[in-house]
Amino acid sequence: MSLPSRADVIVVGSGAAGSTIAAKLAEGGADVLILEAGPKRSPVDMVSSGIWARRLKWNGAPVLEDGANPVGYNFNAGMGVGGSAMHHYAVWPRMHPTDFRMRTDFDRGLDWPISYEELQPYYDLVQREAGISGDAEQENWRPAGEPYPMPPVPLFGQGRVLAEGFKAKGMNTAPLPLAVNTQPYNGRAVCLWDGWCDSGCPIGALANPATVYLPKAIAAGATLATETPVVKVLTKGGRTTGVEVVNADGQRQQVQADTVVLATFAVQNPRLMLASANTDHPGGLGNASGVLGRYLMSHSAGLVSGLFDQETQPTSGPFGGQLVNQDHYAKDSHAASGAFGSYQWMIAQAVRPNDLLGIATTRPDLFGEAISDFMRKAARGFAGMTAVVEDLPVADNRVTLSDRRDDHGVPLALATHTTSEPTNALWRATLDEGKGIFEAAGATEVWTGPQGAMHIMGGTIMGDDPATSVTDSYGRCHDIPNLVVAGPGLFPTSAGVNPTFTVQALAARSADHLLA
């Protein structure tokens, strides 16, 4: 397709943040152009295969990684229409009010420039539009909000087994809040609970950009251009005037706009802003504070696995899990061990035999006949759960530009990340707690995994003070107000829950402000 020469709004990226903001702005009457670097995705492309699912992951310009705890960009990021949300597991809990005021309440980390109460209407709005299944009453830790519009996910073998472990330890479980249909919702089908969420959901039961907000955006008149990478954001004085892209003919082309929204995920946004430096903005766009790229975060994954005598049906159910526990979400719940931060348990996640999160990979020490024996036992009685451990914001964890460049001459991103000791201590505490829960559930064997990186946040943090943040609470760059950032890069802290629901609530709020 030939690109228009201008639009009211250019949205760069078609993932969770970009699709939400594009839909809202287009429905509000704006002429919206969505520029997506990757290819189209069709439902028929989403073959049920763990190996196939790797096509949905990042395969663009390499992201170089450094530090003791790399953020795992290639695993966490996505490529193509829908971005990383096309392989996300649709676990959609809300952040807690205390997550928004860590600095105020604990004199640690950072505050958000908004409160939970300000974001709550947008959580409720996105929840109504996308659909979430769950049981609000059973989540006795749940912040205020409308009840879930759909009943909860059914329990399968491993969910039933692990729930007994939590009960024996005096802990609670509730159905995991999932943006997955347990009944027909807004014209979309019901989940079949076959555990293929991360291969893409061709039946539309899982709320992702392709099933919810991109269709709304297109229906409202937005234009989606694929395989059109943006290589520079243009500015004149203190305003952006548009972007420079590589078009379908391989030629560089400028497209003008009144507003540019960057929604290319937590590493590519700061990369593009740094790489777009010019004489008016020598340190990069939106970087008068010097904070651009800093406070990169990734949840530590507390992986606990075990074998049971019972049939656990390990491949059945949603990929994100069947149950949740947030009993110890308080930031100081494990303070005695030097830990600080929040976490939740995602319990009884559907697994496959293979792949990075698969059954075999939980025991990389086994080979030969030992792995064959283990796989036979695990196919019958494997269970697992994952703690989502908050990563405290550290200024030196950051995105910078490498000396290496991609095929279009844009410097590659270097993502440096080392978790702080309070985060490491909290991760260790979750493993101890998890092992105890498995033992209480009657596991015949229990083991834990390495400190994996899950989700990527920060790098373009929001705040009230232009001297210490990149954007305001609407994602508008302090020094370029018509350049808007969307996505998890805005998070000043990472909380202990999955980020996608919050990303979309923030995007809906930003869109409201832009339309006002």
Partner: protein, 187 residues
């Protein structure tokens, strides 16, 4: 209801692996490609033989499932089509060097310890050296980190043995696909 919807979305033409046999392109599984003696595109025949010998020690059934043809095919694919698990591990592409250097390291260790290439070792000695690779104690070692090479090759072997529809069935697990991979598709 569920099965009818599966049938509805079940027609997919995506993802067959194409191998060359006798100058003709054919779509088949890596295991079929191995049986048919399909041409290798990236690896040498001795490297493929070593992969299968090592894969057999790491994950029984890997050689028969076509491990070497799977890796060879993936290394020859365009970057956005490559599906090896190494892409998740923060190792910059291209990855053929990692495989070649790792294999050379295994052979060098076999020669240093036993005076033979790995593929000529007895089953017991091949198993001992594979265990040393897995445990990080293989000596002498030159090449990528031994632990990384082990993890990568073992993951590939797990993919071909257990990541396919046949692999699920071998374990008695339901392969309840939304879109069933075509017969020739690896998974």
């Amino acid at each position: 209801m569920g099965s009818s919807r599966r049938r509805f979305v079940g027609a997919s033409g995506a993802g067959l692996l194409t191998f060359v046999v006798g100058g003709c392109q054919r779509e088949m599984t890596p295991g079929q490609a191995r049986e048919a003696g399909a041409d290798l595109q990236t690896l040498s025949s001795s490297q493929a033989e070593l992969i299968d010998a090592l894969g057999k020690q790491l994950v029984p059934g890997a050689a028969e499932a076509g491990l070497s043809h799977f890796i060879d095919h993936q290394l020859a694919a365009a970057p956005d089509e490559q599906l090896l698990m190494v892409k998740y591990l923060g190792v910059p592409a291209p990855w053929d060097g990692l495989y070649r250097d790792g294999l050379a390291g295994v052979n060098a260790a076999a020669q240093a310890n036993h005076g033979q290439d790995y593929v000529n070792l007895s089953s017991d000695l091949a198993g001992e050296l594979a265990a040393a690779l897995a445990g990080g104690s293989i000596e002498p070692w030159q090449g990528p980190p031994a632990g990384l090479f082990y993890f990568v090759l073992r993951s590939d072997a797990i993919d071909v043995v257990y990541g396919t529809q046949a692999g699920f069935e071998r374990l008695g697990l339901p392969f309840a696909a939304h879109i069933v991979p075509p017969d020739g598709w690896i998974a």
